[in-house]
């Protein structure tokens, strides 16, 4: 007698919603944006350039080069015709004035640097309008759980559960090169939790904290560069879920 086996529960169908729920619930990132706008900036004109630079003079951290690249790429891909000069190219072409130990720390220093005819000529040739200085980093703040893997002649596998929290803290300072004035400051704080459950195969459910901070910051910088000179000071929050605490406006140094 030929009997058809009764179909059992399909593990893929059962697992997919659980995995999706975990992805949606567990890997969200929260970004809090604080923004200060200084002297009203004129909207960037076609052909004018922006350079995004990382501050690297702090002893305890290094503003990541890939974050700077990400913000630069996001600005140039924003569809608003913003020409972005790559950081490395700019620093090499202006050597030795934009190294970690020699870069101008404020607009006044930039004005002093402009008294050097060779520097002034080179900067004007680039048709540079805005400097965007970014300081900060992304750190893992809390790690929990254990995950162990083993490999043997018969095969291998992992078992356990890991979770960690990442926090990004970045501040962008925007200088108007033509007016030699501070145009604004934008700070972005992003938090997110990542999980790696493992039953034989580890499944990383990662919160893209740095990428989220990059996107949020690039959007705000883009808005500031495109703004009409009417806004004075703005405080806002962008989040996948409600922020843990209310944001406060940055004060100008």
């Amino acid at each position: 007698m030929n009997t058809t086996p009764k179909p059992g529960p399909n593990l893929v169908l059962l697992g997919a919603p659980i995995l999706l729920a975990a992805l949606l619930a567990g890997c969200g990132s929260t970004t809090v944006i604080n923004e200060y706008r200084g002297k009203p900036a004129a909207a960037i004109k076609k052909g004018e350039a922006v350079v995004v630079l990382g501050r690297r003079n702090r002893p305890d951290h290094e503003t990541e080069a890939d974050f700077i690249e990400c913000v630069g790429d996001s600005l140039s891909d924003g569809g608003k015709d913003v020409k972005v000069i790559p950081e490395k190219k700019f620093i090499n072409s202006m050597y030795p004035y934009f190294e970690a130990s020699t870069a101008p720390m404020n607009v006044k220093n930039l004005g002093t640097l402009m008294q050097n005819p060779a520097v002034a000529k080179k900067l004007r040739k680039l048709n540079l309008r805005y400097f965007v200085w970014i300081d900060g980093d992304t750190q893992t703040t809390d790690k929990k759980g254990t995950l162990s893997c083993a490999i043997g002649p018969g095969g291998g596998g992992c078992f356990g559960f890991l979770s960690w929290e990442d926090q990004s803290n970045y501040e962008a300072t925007i200088w108007d090169f033509k007016k030699l004035a501070l145009s604004g400051k934008i700070s972005a704080q992003t938090d997110g939790t990542s999980y790696v459950p493992a039953v034989i195969v580890p499944i990383p459910l990662l919160a893209r904290v740095q990428a989220h901070a990059c996107k949020s910051m690039a959007e705000r910088i883009s808005q500031l560069l495109e703004q009409s000179p009417t806004t004075a000071s703005v405080t806002s929050t962008q989040a996948d879920r409600p922020p843990p605490s209310p944001a406060s406006t940055l004060e100008l140094e």
């Binding site: 020699t102 520097v119 095969g155």
Partner: protein, 219 residues
């Protein structure tokens, strides 16, 4: 699965295990043999109207960072090529003309206004696990000596370069240290090219040259 298939399967797992063990052992080794590569851009500085001699002593040319301690077994870092490249790149941007001289005294018939001779004073390196940070760090200290063409020392001053590199997930120790040393070398080049005219000994020497010039020009 056939017998030959099972054998191949076992051989594959054994080779995988051997590779993993070799990689683990290599990762735990503390020895280091690194030939540092540095790229220094051409400085955007105003050239001083001077013919500068440059002398690289054998000690400077052949300096190699070596250490053999419990934590740093057989460390051997050679950045001699990048050290010379740094001065060959930076000095011609600073002066009207740069001439190599065989010592700290100009040979007869060779006109130079002064001679620069650098020396390596110190080099220190730090790994992330040593400083409990996420950074590879490098400190390099040079002594810049400035001589008159007759070999008399005008003055000397130290230049310290600092560089750091973030510890990425896939950043090897060699790559991290190379990046940190590269940054430190760039820092030295920056401080030399910007700082040379601001050095007190240089300003005093330039002032004395002007006075000598005016004294000679006087009838």
């Amino acid at each position: 699965m056939s017998v030959s298939g099972k054998r191949k399967h076992r051989q594959f797992h054994e080779s995988l295990l051997t590779t993993a063990v070799v990689l683990l052992l290599a990762g735990c080794s503390s020895s280091l043999n690194l030939k540092v590569k540095t790229q220094i851009p051409t400085p955007v500085v105003t050239r001083m109207p001077l013919v500068m001699g440059v002398h690289f002593s054998d000690k400077f040319r052949n300096y190699v960072y070596q250490e053999n301690s419990e934590d740093r077994q057989n460390w051997h870092l050679d950045n001699s090529a990048s050290r010379l490249a740094l001065f060959r790149q930076v000095l011609p941007s600073m002066f009207k003309e740069v001439r190599d001289v065989p010592g700290t005294k100009a040979p007869a018939g060779v006109h130079v206004d002064a001679i620069i001779s650098p020396e390596v004073e110190d080099m220190q390196l730090a790994l992330p696990k040593e400083t409990y940070s996420d950074l590879y760090e490098a400190w390099i200290k040079y002594k810049i000596q400035l001589y008159r063409p007759d070999g008399k020392l005008i003055g000397e001053w130290p230049i310290t370069g600092y560089g750091k590199a973030e510890k990425g997930f896939f950043t090897s120790r060699s790559k991290g240290l190379n990046t940190a040393i590269d940054q430190a070398m760039r820092d030295i080049g920056a401080k030399l090219s910007i700082g040379f005219p601001k050095q007190e000994v240089v300003q005093q020497w330039l002032a004395s040259r002007t006075n000598e010039y005016h004294a000679e020009a006087r009838p």
